[in-house]
Symmetry: C2
């Protein structure tokens, strides 16, 4: 344990991170679902449950969406059910006036590379209420005791709607002036250095990206005049968002869409089947549910088993941006997924696994546009992982593409052009931006 003069530069960070990886005695190995200690398959439903009835379950879900155009989509799938709200907390402190984040080199069983850079606290409710009898969660008190610091952001935010049913975590950033003892596995990194690390593949984990989306941003340099803004957007044939106009567009979509869903027994989900060691889709598409056995020296619990959701292929999460009247706009899509907490949230322009659409004649809108963008239009391009505590080797390519004049002029229904300033304001509140949009917003803010 060191004291908090131990601020780590980017050079020293890489050295430290390698050392941590080398020193970590950690193994995660795939194991058949019926051999996971503590977990069993309910013989009546086929659901995967923990013997305590806690943590999470894998169940079946049928979903029907009637969208604002009257179109109906329905499907069934396995889904992770975890109603508990966990804490994802980043502790901030200024050294010589420069904000630094207390980051953690944390292993997760689903990580493709074992260690990733995680928030100061990343704890499920089961963790921090000690359901699994592990060690106490370090630094938790900064996020549960309001007297310990000044909150910079704090909201419940959703996670992957395609994989989780209504899952939320508390995303919280607290600034302290305390002299903080820095434990093994933790380092103070400057916000600028964390931003720089976002350019590298699979270093900054999903929880960090999600929480940092709400880090207070300086106001956008140019504030639009309402009229010139509308005029410019009208010329680009796009939707008129901005302030209450944006809230109104989103509210109208939520009021006009209907999302109904019902938990069903896993063994009644058509198109999916349980094989000896996994739950898989008949065509091998989307994802499977597999098991892992983990041995980890310095986790709260040194040995455990759990199921994880393994996506079939790498996805694409892309935002198209455009300067309109001197103001940066982003093309968002109001997305309704199986597990969306409240009907619809704003997602990126593109959010899909392209391989799932191989056999379909319908390609997701703008997917081919962003994949074919010339290099000088690519403002951001890195591969990042989704939460290794629930997802196995779940990688997405994160792209920010600056549109040029050849961008298709019309905007399909459900898409909205939103200013960066408006997004940074909305993300302070729950359930406006989905986790994919929040992660991309962090990448975008890092470019500034």
């Amino acid at each position: 344990m060191t004291h908090d003069s131990a601020v780590t530069s980017l050079d020293r960070f890489h050295e430290w991170f390698r050392e941590r990886a080398d020193a970590t005695d950690y193994r995660a190995e795939e194991a058949p679902l019926d051999q996971l200690e503590g977990w069993h398959t309910d013989p009546r439903t086929g659901n995967l449950v923990h013997r305590t009835g806690r943590f999470y379950t894998i169940e079946g879900l049928t979903t029907t969406v009637w969208d604002e155009d009257g179109d109906e989509r329905g499907w069934a799938q396995p889904i992770i059910v975890q109603p508990e709200i966990g804490v994802l907390g980043i502790l901030v402190k200024r050294f010589d006036g420069v904000p630094h984040l207390l980051m953690q080199a944390k292993m997760e069983p689903g990580n493709i590379n074992t260690l990733q850079l995680s928030p100061t606290v990343q704890a499920t409710r089961s963790n921090y209420t000690r359901v699994h009898q592990g060690n106490a969660v370090p630094y938790l008190e900064y996020f549960t005791d309001p007297r310990r610091g000044r909150p910079l952001a704090d909201a419940l935010q959703s996670e992957q709607g395609s994989w989780f049913l209504g899952k939320r975590n508390r995303n919280v950033i607290v600034e302290t002036t305390d002299d903080v003892a820095v434990r093994d596995g933790f380092r103070w990194l400057s916000l600028a250095d964390v931003h720089a690390l976002l350019r590298m593949d699979n270093v900054v984990n999903m929880d960090t990206r999600s929480v940092l989306a709400a880090y207070p941003q300086p106001p956008a340099a140019e504030r639009r005049e309402e009229d010139s803004f509308r005029g410019a957007l009208a010329r680009s044939a796009a939707a008129p968002p901005g302030g209450t106009g944006l809230l109104s567009r989103l509210t109208a979509v939520k009021a006009a869409r209907t999302l109904t869903r019902r938990l069903v027994p896993m063994n009644e989900v058509p198109g999916w089947r349980r094989v000896t060691d996994r739950i898989v889709h008949d065509d091998g598409r989307y994802f499977s549910i597999l098991g892992v056995q983990v041995e980890a020296g310095d986790r709260e619990v040194p040995r455990w088993s759990q199921p994880l959701l393994a996506p079939a292929t790498r996805g694409v999460i892309a935002m198209v941006t455009r300067q309109v009247g001197g103001v940066l706009h982003l093309l968002l899509r109001a997305r309704t997924e199986a597990g969306t907490f409240d009907v619809a949230e704003l997602g990126p322009t593109v959010q899909c696994a392209p391989d799932n659409h191989r056999v379909s004649s319908v390609r997701p809108p703008f997917l081919d546009y962003v994949l074919a963008a010339p290099q000088d239009r690519v403002r951001f391009d890195a591969v990042h992982s989704e939460e290794g505590g629930r997802f196995y080797h779940a990688e997405n390519r994160y792209l920010v593409i600056e549109a040029d004049d050849d961008f298709p002029p019309g905007t399909p229904g459900g898409y909205l052009w939103v200013t960066l300033g408006d997004l940074n304001e909305l993300v302070r509140h729950s359930h406006y931006l989905n986790v994919e949009a929040r992660c991309l917003l962090t990448c975008l803010n890092a470019l500034r």
Copy 2:
């Protein structure tokens, strides 16, 4: 039908409102639940359902709340289940620069006085998608077509959490510059006149009060210095809200509370029973479910039957205010009710039916304080009705009490002092303020 030069002054309003009442051929009579046309009691569950499966149902609900102190409360009750999102819309137009609202004299079967002043549009989804084959909803296009006006406010907002399961309506205010044809039963009233009418009992209906809470307010005259604010609040031994601090306090409560609930058959709800004509509580407390038969000349449907929820007694909805450092603060309570959409919302200081607490030794906090307030501390005092489309003769006494130095210095857990400015900002978004707090906020803003 008249044209929109037909702005109505307050004197003329009363005359017109009386004329409407006299001219209205309308009768609502109580009827036994088993004789409501179109409705039946499911023999298996005891639930009340419409033959189409739409509109709403009366079902049973069991609720358990673990609060942030670890206390557990559990109960069972009947509840109204209506997942559809309706539209409550107020159309605004400036005449000589003065904002006017297009208000409607609308009858509802549960209204104690037949007619109340309602929003321009007050339509369930069944109404406006024409499920019951009625007439089209006038002025609906202003709230469904974004090109018809400029939105001033637009969010999904919750309704009574003790009576509805997760019910939300779209609360929307749109300003137009169109020449609007004013139909019979509608009048342009100035915002100031509607505010004046709030002083009268049972004139401005719940939907109007709820929607107007989000009418854009001028910024608070004094903006606090963060330090003097904190200092003043610390002296009053209250919680430090304000901006992100307030969001953080609320988020922490939501993350620390657990609300679990389960729909159960109505005939399995302990403490409640079906008698020949109603559903009642064994002690006659809380509320009953009764039926009404309605004949109405100019509604979308001229004759219908429906169940309504009838509270046992009149309630008290009160806000305690206090000047702190020259800034008006309100004492709110983070409330979790059976039907709360998202764990907890900010409610008034007091929200209860005092008669329900007669037999209990525990009185709701601050109830006796607000009821005993001397006249010179009472800033607002009027009786208002809750929605007559679902609730039968549901009256509440709305009070705003300005605290003096004898106000108890400590603030119990779950209570927060919030500035009026912060509340007016939060109410632009969904699920921060419950409907009782929104209605009181409208009364408070009307005082300025």
